[in-house]
């Protein structure tokens, strides 16, 4: 890989006795998308807040592009863009005013700032809305502005805290595509998420964080492979019948275990190096027809469960995910229909 742009050493943040971030060290390479994956309260946001100088670490240190936050804080801040979970924008101002305001604080020359602002607004399809107050926008529109707000200063590194939280599928896809596009233009992106697919789809490397500690850090592919190595890959067959002959033959193969799931369904797990041909040969040898088959690869969720021994989605996460969909909006509709 290329050279590292962020280097974190033994970073710790304590709130009272509780260590929200517990002695973590890692490097982020220039030009990569680095994903922090973990359940709520794992310490992702706190790590991001420390790296963007919003929170002072209890101990430990980090550098960004060789810059030390204690000495070169202003230069460091200029290199970095922040897409926070709580939207950073003023409801009473228009999108354009918001962008220009933040650009000025970063001393971007006025002409460059205006040109960049207009370009960004067009790029995300918000040009027509540029002079409307943010307060009148939908959640998806707001989030798009929230993302480009971090870009008016043209930072090399962009931190994104749960960039798709609370968005509908369409807006989510737009934001994700935009992130990939930015990355193609050479921006280094560090994002946090509690959504497995997002980490998997976007990140070059994923750091799985739990209880303030990084418990795994690698490419999504490697993380899954290492679990596959350990546990074996699974494959499920729907077959015409399940004779004893077939189960026998399969079980005799090395590094293979078989389980019958139903009248004509079996599940096989096989270790690395085993060829799938051998499984199929064994089935055909007993004159059994294969109606359907699918392999099930381990997901990052499986990796998480394997590492922590817990389900990824704890109760708190579940609750929060259900809330926005059925919560206030629903109640409001009920009330308004009653009024009518």
């Amino acid at each position: 890989m290329s050279k590292s742009i962020i280097s974190v050493k033994n970073l710790t943040k304590k709130f009272g006795d509780l260590a929200a971030v517990d002695n973590i060290s890692f490097e982020v390479q220039k030009g990569e998308i680095f994903g922090f994956l973990g359940p709520n309260g794992a310490g992702k946001s706190t790590t991001l807040r420390m790296l963007t100088t919003l929170t002072a670490p209890t101990s430990g240190s980090f550098t960004i592009n060789g810059l030390n936050p204690k000495k070169d804080v202003d230069q460091l801040k200029k290199m970095v863009g922040l897409v926070a979970e709580k939207l950073i924008m003023y409801d009473y101002l228009s999108a354009r005013e918001n962008l220009l305001f933040f650009g000025k604080l970063y001393k971007v020359p006025q002409d460059i700032l205006e040109e960049r602002t207009d370009k960004l607004l067009k790029m995300i399809g918000m040009w027509e809305w540029r002079d409307h107050k943010i307060g009148t926008y939908s959640t998806g529109m707001k989030q798009r502005i929230n993302v480009i707000r971090a870009l008016v200063t043209d930072p090399d590194i962009i931190f994104m805290d749960e960039p798709t939280l609370g968005l509908d599928p369409q807006s989510t896809r737009q934001v994700r595509e935009f992130i990939l596009e930015l990355n193609k233009k050479g921006k280094t992106i560090i994002l946090t998420t509690h959504i497995m697919q997002e980490a998997e789809r976007l990140s070059d490397r994923v750091g799985i964080i739990d209880h303030g500690k990084i418990i795994a850090l690698d490419t999504p592919e490697n993380l899954k492979n290492s679990l596959a190595d350990k546990r074996g890959t699974g494959v499920e067959f729907k077959v015409s019948e399940v004779p004893a002959c077939m189960l026998d033959k399969l079980a005799k193969l090395p590094k293979v275990s078989v389980k019958q799931l139903g009248d004509n369904r079996i599940s096989i797990s096989y270790g690395n190096g085993t060829e799938v041909n051998k499984l199929i040969d064994a089935i055909q040898d007993c004159n059994v027809g294969i109606l359907r088959m699918h392999t099930s690869e381990p997901t990052l969720e499986d990796v998480f469960i394997d590492l922590t021994g817990r389900e990824f989605r704890d109760k708190a996460t579940e609750k929060e995910q259900k809330m926005p969909a059925a919560g206030p909006g629903h109640g409001f509709r009920k009330i308004s229909s009653r009024i009518r």
Binding site: T53, L54, T55, K78, L93, F101, L105, Y106
Partner: protein, 394 residues
């Protein structure tokens, strides 16, 4: 340093822009001082404000002397309509009417009044007052006393001149100087009458500005913190001082706008005259703001959220408002309250502003007030800024 100020101006401008976008806030900015002025100006009942107060009148036995008193009450009332006079037969009736709240007081001319006069004693007129309403009572008592005094005075003058005529002395002394040898005449730095608005306008101006800072600053900062936009400012390569100065600047401008509204209302609606320099008035408003900003920032830093900030502020604001001499002169307060008022910066801001507006004092007359305000403000800022910085990177 220049960059700090420049960024502060961007932030202040942004805050003002937000502020002007909200119509209701704009309208309230103008209306609030208006209400404030009317409210504080009318809090004290004055003689000129007394109109049609229901009172009871008992004359147990009409006589020429009692007629004199009743007539002069009627004459005065025809002119100024202070009272709505109801006639009753006995003191007991007045008592029960006051209890029922139908009248606010009464005047009783009893049988004994005539008897005493006939037997060469002083005639006693009884003023009955309602203890539940001390302010109206004191006004009523004042008016009644004045009437009885005047009647009694003119009767005395008449008697004296009759006596001197009867004794056959020509060109004798002026009866006035015998009956009332000493009189007073009121003089002050200002010609004409002083009204309560003149007293209350400077205090109200200062109060509105300072209240704006004290409630506005914590609210503005807490709001940005809770909505998350403060992170945007903190992540930007700007000094914390820019945020503090910028936010304060926006609040000051808003406060000065309101103070100007009060000033204009005072002059054109309530007849207040500005005897000193207008520039000095605004200078003092700025100094007053400077003195209190540190306190506002410190409170913001101590409060974890908007609600706590509001509670903290109101706990401090109310004693400050009442003890700093906005509504009541500090000299009228009990000693412990006076001691507290001496440590409140607001006391000095209001005192100096009142001296300029009412007495036409120049900057030279205010040196001690200004020094106290500057020192207080600087000390508070030294305490507040580190607190604020600590709060922000928590």
């Amino acid at each position: 340093m220049m960059q700090v100020i420049k960024n502060a101006i961007y932030i202040g401008y942004k805050d003002m822009l937000e502020f002007t976008r909200s119509k209701i806030r704009l309208v309230m900015t103008i209306i609030m001082p208006f209400f404030m002025m009317i409210m504080t100006g009318s809090i004290y009942p004055s003689e000129s404000g007394v109109k049609n107060i229901p009172i009871g009148l008992v004359v147990e036995e009409p006589s020429p002397s009692s007629d004199l008193i009743v007539n002069s009450i009627n004459t005065l009332n025809d002119e100024k309509s202070f009272f709505e006079i109801k006639k009753f037969d006995s003191e007991a009736e007045i008592e029960s009417q006051v209890k029922e709240g139908k009248i606010d007081g009464g005047l009783i001319i009893s049988k004994e009044f005539n008897e005493d006069l006939m037997s060469g004693k002083q005639g006693e007129v009884i003023i009955f007052q309602d203890d539940t309403n001390p302010q109206i009572s004191s006004v009523l008592t004042g008016v009644f006393n004045q009437i009885v005094d005047q009647v009694s005075f003119s009767v005395a003058v008449k008697n004296v001149s009759e006596i001197s005529q009867a004794s056959g002395q020509e060109n004798s002394a002026n009866p006035l100087s015998i009956v009332k040898p000493y009189i007073t005449k009121t003089k002050s730095l200002l010609g004409g009458e002083t009204n309560y608005f003149q007293f209350v306008a400077p205090g109200t101006m200062m109060m509105v500005v300072l209240m704006g800072i004290m409630t506005g600053l914590p609210r503005a900062i807490s709001f940005e913190r809770e909505s998350g936009t403060l992170d945007g400012l903190l992540a930007a390569p700007i000094s914390t001082m820019s945020i503090i100065i910028g936010k304060t600047l926006a609040q000051i401008i808003r406060g000065i706008i309101q103070a100007t509204v009060i000033l204009l209302l005072s002059i054109f609606l309530f007849g207040v005259t500005i005897n000193g320099s207008i520039l000095l008035v605004f200078f003092l408003l700025f100094i007053g703001v400077y003195s209190i900003t540190g306190l506002g920032i410190a409170l913001t830093s101590l409060a974890p959220d908007q609600e706590a900030a509001t509670m903290l502020i109101s706990t401090i604001m109310f004693p400050m408002m009442f003890l700093s001499g906005i509504f009541f002169p500090v000299e009228q307060m009990p000693p412990f309250a006076q001691a507290i008022s001496k440590i409140l910066p607001l006391t000095y801001s209001i005192d100096s502003l009142r001296k300029v507006i009412t007495l036409g004092a120049g900057i030279g007359d205010l040196t001690s007030d200004i020094i106290i305000l500057l020192v207080f403000g600087t000390v508070m800022l030294f305490v507040a800024v580190p607190l604020f910085k600590k709060m922000m990177t928590k």
